[in-house]
Symmetry: C3
Subunit: 344 residues, 3 copies
């Protein structure tokens, strides 16, 4: 994987100032880059490094004017950070999809259809009646139960466990240790204090372009025909709990260790920070932003709010209250003095 600076500039629609024939084999930060590597300059506070970098080329903004001599080749573009990200992404795809073929031993059930260019790692397991798309990468120790459908270009990392009947779209990435389709937590209390298990018979549907981190859990829905749904473009971090019958709206992002209880519907384009808890049977409006460790116990109906606390309220109000919480001993003291003064 080696490209000329000219090829890269062409890919980015950029102008070259310097040697277009030099070869690039890697991407690196401007302060660390070596010969044969490509870097970028976006944040002005790193400008100093462009005069000393060993990078063979640096992507810069098209109006960049050097203040000193420069030895590296420049690629001038609209937005250097975006351009660099595009290159990183292309490189990442090359790496992510480079595995292919079948490593033995691996297990495949009956009546399974698999697409082209797929990778099935050693010790991977595909149950009966599965439909696996093109260019799907199934790493070692991944488990795919019966009747699972997986779209094209989806990567299932090592040790992912997918229960029967799950549906996963195109261009998804699921990281190691994540469990999809396990039983929801449903138990009916009995007169003697014990619990009867409420069987969980629904499934999980994951739409296109969803990314799921490591060791996250998404439970299946309770009833036949129902699904726990992760809509397109959703990004879930590591160690997240998604309970039965939850629905997460398009392009919502949820950070690590947050949990969403049964049957709650999270809107589109929400930003949920880490270690947040959302109670069951709630509706969260689109574009809601919830701060770290917050607890949501009621539905949020108004779009675009920024919330925090347990239970949540407006983030600015929270911090005003919290500043006074820290001063409660002083407030109490002032109160006591007033009581004294007024003969309380």
């Amino acid at each position: 994987m080696e490209f000329t600076i000219g090829q890269i500039a062409a890919m980015l629609g950029g102008q070259i100032q310097g040697k277009s024939e030099d070869k690039i084999s890697m991407l690196a930060k401007i302060q660390d880059a070596k010969q044969g590597q490509l870097s970028f300059l976006s944040n002005p506070k790193y400008e100093q490094f462009i005069y000393t970098t060993n990078a063979s080329a640096v992507i810069v903004k098209k109006d960049f004017v050097p203040k000193k001599d420069i030895t590296t080749t420049l690629i001038l573009v609209e937005d250097p950070y975006v351009s660099f990200t595009i290159l990183l992404e292309e490189y990442h795809k090359l790496i992510s999809f480079q595995k292919s073929g079948v490593e033995e031993p691996c297990f495949i059930g009956q009546q399974v259809s698999v697409g082209n260019a797929i990778y099935r790692g050693a010790f991977s397991y595909i149950g009966n009646k599965c439909k696996i798309g093109n260019n799907v990468k199934i790493y070692p120790h991944a488990y795919i139960g019966d009747n699972v459908v997986i779209g094209d270009n989806t990567i299932i990392h090592s040790g992912v466990k997918i229960y029967a009947d799950t549906r996963i779209g195109n261009n998804c990435v699921i990281h190691s240790g994540t469990v999809i389709g396990s039983d929801g937590f449903g138990f009916a209390p009995q007169a003697d204090g014990s619990y009867k298990t409420i069987p969980q018979l629904g499934n999980v549907v994951i739409e296109d372009n969803v990314a799921i981190g490591a060791n996250t859990v998404i439970d299946c829905a309770t009833l036949f025909g129902d699904a726990t749904i992760i809509q397109q473009g959703v990004k879930l971090d590591n160690l997240i709990q998604v309970a039965h019958n939850v629905e997460i709206g398009k392009n919502t992002v949820i950070a690590a260790q947050s949990g969403i209880s049964g049957s709650s519907k999270v809107g589109e384009n929400c930003m949920i920070a880490g270690q947040v808890g959302i109670a069951g049977h709630l509706v969260i409006a689109n574009k809601t932003s919830i701060g770290a460790q917050a607890g949501v116990s009621k539905s949020i109906n108004e779009e675009g709010q920024r919330l925090i606390g347990y239970p949540v309220f407006d983030i600015r109000e929270y911090f005003k209250s919290y500043a006074l919480f820290k001063k409660l001993p002083e407030l109490n003291q002032r109160l006591a003095e007033l009581e004294k003064k007024t003969g309380g």
Copy 2:
């Protein structure tokens, strides 16, 4: 798996109004059900659907009197929801226990005894000297270390990891990715600031009828002969931490992402919500109810309390205080005005 309405009614001890010979092959919600499917009507707000449903039969309360024409067959029972749950459970058992036999390759150690009707999925691993009961289902990629004992009718889902010497009872279900018997977190501080590992030599004992969700962790006890104990009927959700030497009492239910620190004893019939933390070496009385995200730092001696907060106190008191926390800026303002008025 097809039954006549007559067979189902007999199973439930119900009366039939309609065609007892029609065949049922699936269960579904009343608003979604199709021909050949069975549903139930429990909540009166769904009554409208019984007049239009395509379900072949609907389970209703025995005193149900239709207000309009009905085309579906009725099965009249004492409690439709309970009856439907029984059917769901039977159906779920049929599915859960349908796997049997041995898929190759799988690994089994020496001096292992296994019961009848067990399933050993491909790539499952059973260590030396294990005793596995009848009708146990061990899914692909499950790991069972040496000297493990598993009772009858227990399901070990894909990728569960069970360390050596663990004991698991009858009728348990353990979901994917859960780890049982890993080392407790014990380290003795040394003079130079480093830590020496305190070896963890006990085990984990899981009694009968316990359900454990996905990606939960239960550490082993520290000393020989000691055990981390999950008593009968306990239900643990996903991503829960149960530290070394913890004991969880009969029929206690713990929701996702909660954690119980070392050596704490949780009573029977407790309800612990999600993301709760319980410190180490505490005793929690029976029937304690702890709200989401709460933190317990002292033992709870009185039974039946409902607690929340960090540290926890009575839930109603918490919400009274929290309502005023939100108004702290206003309280502060009132205080300032009083101070002004009294020449403070």
Copy 3:
């Protein structure tokens, strides 16, 4: 594994009062110990048991003087607890490292070098170009991606997933289900509300003597040449989230279910309790102690503080404020009375 009391005393540099030729085959608590077992007496409140114990020998402090008749043999040492811990550790090592050889089937890639005395459990996977040291134990279902380096005497438990390019030092223990090197959570917002994945191209470096619990996740760094770093002697509990580009300093201890967001640097010798959250891009000073469920949203510059709350502040101040939080209804009442009294 049987030793004479004399051999054990010699190993500990202790004096014997009693029968040095008796055999010991196990360690146990003083109140539970049986013949052939060895125990210790450290905490004076357990002294009663030394007069009735069935242990063949008990380790005691060198100045211990029995108040009654004693039948067990005594081993007198400087610090009985430390001595017992040393024995436990030796015993644990014997057990931990007793597995060796290769169980089939297992997978090994090309150009891999492996040391002596290693164990490769059935269904373990080692990718291409890995370098595995001496006496490394790789349990069943462990996955080791391409180009991974693992030092000597490191134990990789069943089902651990290690992504390509990870480096792990000597004498580490990693428990089941833990994922190392998964993609960091990085997404660049697009104009249409969707997100572009920021490829994660760095790796994870774990230094010597690190212990990591079960189902923990450590993400790789974002850029080439960058690493998420776990320094020597760090102890991580179960279900912890360590995001991309985090660095955790020497001998820091983190309890279960805590999470550290991207690019934060935690100092050396810190103690972080369970369910703590640390925001991104922060620096936490050495010897910081953070209480359970706390949230850190700003850098902590002063060493040795004890903090709690959300956001954190001094633990004693927190508890003073919290005591008054619980009394807010009463404070509000007092305020209302003052207002009444002053004609407010």
